[in-house]
């Protein structure tokens, strides 16, 4: 029941502290359904913290976060609702090493959505084929290449039929030759209208796929804009400095 005026993600005045350190201070961000947003910024600027607050892996200390109109109010019910519409892909894949790829993909649909084994497996096989590792379904994560593991992790998330996908540096742990296959998978997903929030320094991906680039520094959003505008004409010194470091 998402009507177009309800943002997929809305952050208003969000604060997050670790001890005395402010990892996020007064972050405001509205993301529309279907929008693709790339978040970039120097190390320690709060990018991971930001997207981890969106699905309540980190709990924010102040301000408001709403996802698909559901406000995260610390209740277990709101957390579960928000997680039911979000999927997350981690830098280190975080596949369950003691389960096959197929079991990784069917665990949550079976235990949380109460899908039958047959249904869950059929869906998993379909999504694994879509990310082109259908033939790896019976293997354990440790037997797969990094790129295959990350695609398995993406398929595992998709099995929960999320409306919003969160990516935290999905290609940073990969060897260069495997980055492309994962980015291709993400582009395909973007083409299907998925709402995507992606922390990445892959500027080619950002130019091609993102509707908006958000630049963070020291826990705040410093500037944001369309990728071409941001890359060719950043407003802040910080962003200029950052871009000069990552574009060689």
């Amino acid at each position: 029941m998402t009507n177009s005026t309800v943002p997929a993600v809305k952050l208003a005045g969000v604060m997050k502290r670790f001890g005395n350190f402010a990892a996020l201070s007064d972050v405001n961000l509205d993301i529309a359904a279907g929008e693709k947003v790339v978040i970039c910024g120097p190390s320690g600027s709060g990018k991971s913290t930001l997207i981890r607050c969106i699905n309540h892996i980190e709990q924010h200390d102040g301000g408001e976060i709403s996802v698909n109109g559901i406000r995260l109010d610390r209740s277990a019910a709101s957390v579960a609702k928000v997680r039911s519409v979000t999927g997350m892909v981690f830098q280190n894949f975080n596949l369950f090493p003691h389960m096959t790829v197929l079991e990784n993909c069917t665990l949550a649909p079976r235990s949380t959505l109460k899908l039958s084994r047959a249904k869950a497996e059929a869906q998993a096989m379909e999504l694994l084929s879509k990310v082109r590792i259908g033939d790896q379904a019976r293997k354990y994560p440790g037997q797969l290449s990094g790129g295959q593991q990350q695609r398995a992790a993406i398929a595992r998330s998709l099995c929960m039929q999320p409306k919003i996908m969160l990516f935290d540096e999905p290609t940073s742990a990969l060897d260069p030759e495997m980055v492309k296959e994962v980015l291709e998978t993400m582009k395909a997903l973007a083409g299907e209208g998925m709402t995507m929030i992606c922390v990445t320094h892959e500027m080619g991906f950002a130019r091609e796929v993102a509707d908006r680039v958000v630049f963070m520094d020291r826990g705040s959003i410093m500037e944001q804009g369309r990728p071409d505008a941001f890359f060719s004409n950043p407003h802040t010194d910080r962003a200029r400095q950052f871009l000069s470091q990552i574009i060689h």
Partner: protein, 236 residues
């Protein structure tokens, strides 16, 4: 007189009284493992709960039972509890002591196992909207258990031998029955040599089980953890 009487040794080796002691030793061990693992799991979860009201008693428990000899614990339970109106049989006292003692070691093994499972595993569970129960039973516990198998195996090996301490409160396991037989003929070496063989057979059998368990639970991991069983001297 001082010569080792081989025939007597062989006789003791097949002595049914002594063999009966093997059954008692195995029974004590199995019960202490099961009881100790259950209690140890609870204590470990208390200690990891982050709630001081639960964590402190757990820490105290572990500190106390790992810091005192099992021998004293057994004697205190057997001789001391009746002062508080709790009268336990010899066997019950021994079981209680072994379980309480073993739990303190198991608790630490369980805790270190859980701590070694990367945080990202739980976070992946959260992101997939898994319930806390599912994350515990399906994600963290199986991975922690795999890490626990080698130290648990060593602990059980130690327990097989530690049950001999129950002989001081006259539980008729291998050691106690050896003592009793020894007092009949005073063939000290012959009797204890037979007991030694029994213990070696038991620990070796356990080694085989442990090796199987390590293979079974190491299945999906590429990490090559060296086997810790004492029989590994047979392999290269």
């Amino acid at each position: 007189m001082t010569i080792f009487n081989f025939d007597a040794f062989v006789n003791y080796l097949f002595n049914s009284f002594l063999l009966g002691g093997v059954g008692v030793t195995i029974g004590l061990t199995v019960a202490a493992v099961i009881g100790g693992l259950c209690l140890g799991m609870i204590i470990a979860l208390m200690r990891m709960s982050g709630k001081p009201l639960l964590a402190f008693p757990a820490r105290f428990y572990i500190w106390f039972f790992r810091g005192t000899p099992l021998l004293i614990q057994l004697v205190v339970i057997y001789a001391g509890l009746p002062l508080f109106g709790v009268k336990l049989s010899v066997l019950q006292s021994a079981l209680l002591g072994l379980i309480l003692n073993e739990a303190s070691y198991m608790a630490e093994i369980v805790r270190t196992g859980f701590l070694a499972v990367p945080k990202g595993q739980t976070e992946a569970g959260w992101s997939l909207n898994l319930s806390r129960r599912t994350i515990f039973w399906r994600v963290t516990l199986p991975q922690a258990f795999r890490l626990m198998v080698p130290p648990l195996g060593n602990s059980i090996n130690g327990l097989l031998k530690a049950t001999s301490l129950a002989s001081v409160i006259s539980v008729e396991e291998i050691m106690r029955r050896s003592d009793l037989l020894m007092q009949e003929q005073f063939q000290v070496l012959e009797v204890y040599a037979a007991a030694t063989i029994y213990y070696l057979i038991l620990t070796s059998l356990w080694d085989l089980v442990q090796a199987r368990l390590e293979r079974r639970f190491g299945r999906s991991v590429n990490a090559t953890t060296a086997s810790t069983t004492s029989l590994s001297f047979l392999r290269r």
